[in-house]
């Protein structure tokens, strides 16, 4: 595989991880524009640990994720009673705070950015993490916590009155989502080998948001399909040169008109699952 193709697949994997990190709070009705901020925390933490403190890559990656998760829970607290555009604004502001913090954080290079990390990220570890996340989300669906999150996004008051501890569930969704984003950041830093705070701005957060909405916000497969397609499309239409971002934008506009719920929805995924099961049973019999 050429270096170019490999880099596309690696960025695709990281995008999947980031989109899933956003999907988790979204599935509980909490839309977050802070994921780029959590990603930055994971990226800088793991990079500082591997470069300056000699910590091996994987522990550093996990520690970066944990620090992002702790921050996520802290952001989750004020976010408990806030919904809709107010929550968007709150998480947006938090993401910008993180960006400005790293812009001024001299141990990590401040405005001139941070380099000197070793290349540790490869297809294997990126897609191993993607695989674990897929397992996590497919097991979450139809489990006790999965139902609780779905019920909350449907009707918070009814969920609370049915005994769901929505405070706890929201903090967990925010924290675990931030953990995933932190992992994504660590992987990114150890592949790009140079990070600077401007990369983790609000536009990046919006990009992850677009992945999730494009693929379909109802199911986690949507976040995956959205990231895959929206990573490939800009590359596939490079021949359009300067017009390619226009093409990219048009794809999104058209999809939102014909299929506002995104490419995949619950009905479609359930249908595919039913079909696959039938095929499986059929094969088993013959």
């Amino acid at each position: 595989m050429s270096g170019y193709t490999e880099s596309i697949f690696i960025f695709m994997g990281i995008n999947i991880i980031m989109a899933l990190s956003l999907y988790l709070p979204c599935s509980a009705g909490q839309i977050s524009l802070a994921q780029a901020g959590f990603m930055a925390i994971g990226a800088y933490t793991s990079s500082l640990l591997t470069r300056d403190y000699g910590v091996p890559f994987y522990p550093a990656l996990v520690l970066g994720g944990l620090l992002a998760a702790m921050t996520g829970v802290l952001v989750g607290f004020p976010a408990i009673r806030i919904k809709g555009i107010y929550l968007l604004l709150l998480t947006l502001a938090f993401g910008e705070m993180v960006r400005v913090f790293f812009l001024n954080f001299t141990p990590a290079g401040g405005a001139s950015g941070m380099g000197g990390m070793e290349l540790k990220t490869n297809l294997v570890n990126v897609y191993a993490i993607v695989g674990v996340l897929i397992l996590f989300f497919s097991r979450l669906r139809g489990s006790r916590m999965g139902r609780a999150l779905e019920s909350m996004s449907d009707d918070e008051v009814a969920a609370e009155a049915t005994g769901v501890n929505i405070v706890r569930a929201k903090l967990v969704a925010f924290g675990v989502g931030a953990f995933m984003a932190g992992l994504g950041g660590g992987l990114y830093a150890h592949y790009a080998l140079y990070i600077d705070s401007s990369k983790f701005g609000f536009l990046l957060a919006v990009e992850f948001f677009v992945f999730v909405v494009f693929g379909g916000i109802e199911v986690f497969w949507g976040a995956i399909v959205g990231s895959v397609l929206l990573t490939i499309i800009p590359e596939a239409v490079r021949f359009l040169k300067d017009f390619r971002m226009i093409f990219f934008g048009m794809t999104i506009v058209i999809l939102m008109i014909v299929r506002p719920q995104g490419l995949l929805d619950k009905q479609l995924v359930d249908g595919i699952a039913r079909h696959a099961r039938r095929l499986y049973i059929f094969r088993g019999v013959s």
């Binding site: 139902r147 019920s151 009814a158 501890n165």
Partner: protein, 252 residues
């Protein structure tokens, strides 16, 4: 024995007094009706008991424990379930999943335990939840519609599903907020029978109703609210002949 004791409850919204010094005692095993004209404060009362609103003043104790400052989910775990006047089901979930959510507070599996379960096998707890949900759907007569989305059910069935969901929290007291609103006579009769069956399960009922006849028919005791005040309290026959109640309802 008193299961739920409400003492001198006051609730005001920016100066508007929705409940003024309401006291009420629900005894174990009873069907206790609360009636009153529109705007009497009935739903506010249920919202306060279930923790969705906090009282301005007053005390509520359940099984002898004060509950007026607790979060709604905590109150559910103490054993108080409820339904809503304007049905609030989880529309994106299937009928059986709606009931299964009710078991949330009686079960414990978190993200980690669920993640590390054995392949192709549900957690033991999950089987129990399903079993319980099926039993309750059978109880309210919705067994044949388990897998349908909740929003596809007709109105009367949605009401019964909401009751099944509340029963899934294993309450010792259930608050029914106008379970017969918008129902015809046949559906109302069925609902009354369901209420009696719920009591047979050992669940005490606090029944809020607009419709006098239903409440009179099945309640052991009735409290009448008007303009946020407790104007009468007693057995159905006492309420029927109470001059204060007749005045509140008929205006003379």
């Amino acid at each position: 024995m008193t299961l739920l004791a409400i003492e001198n409850l006051v609730k005001s919204f920016n100066g508007f007094v929705a409940l003024n010094n309401v006291s009420l005692h629900v005894s174990q095993g009873a069907i206790h009706g609360v009636i009153g004209p529109n705007g009497a404060g009935k739903t506010t009362l249920i919202n306060i008991i279930s923790g969705i609103l906090k009282p301005s003043k007053g005390r509520i104790s359940f099984n002898g424990q004060p509950i007026e400052r607790l979060r709604p989910d905590k109150i559910v775990s103490f054993g108080i379930g409820r339904t809503f006047q304007n049905i609030r089901l989880f529309n994106a979930l299937s009928v059986i999943e709606n009931v299964m959510v009710g078991q949330h507070c009686r079960t414990t599996a978190g993200l980690v335990r669920n993640f590390f379960r054995r392949p192709f096998k549900l957690l033991e707890e999950e089987n129990r939840i399903q079993h319980k949900a099926k039993e309750l759907l059978n109880f309210v007569g919705l067994s044949d519609r388990e897998q349908e989305p909740a929003r596809s059910l007709p109105y009367g069935s949605q009401r019964r599903l909401e009751i099944a969901r509340a029963l899934a929290t294993e309450p010792s007291l259930i608050l029914l907020d106008e379970p017969c609103a918008g129902m015809d006579i046949k559906e109302t009769t069925e609902m009354a029978q369901l209420a009696l069956k719920i009591r047979e399960r050992g669940v005490t009922i606090l029944l809020i109703e607009h419709d006098m006849n239903l409440v009179m028919g099945i309640s052991d005791r009735i409290t009448v609210l008007n303009f946020g005040q407790n104007i009468a309290d007693g057995r159905p026959d006492e309420i029927r002949s109470s001059p204060a109640v007749i005045e509140a309802y008929l205006g003379f």
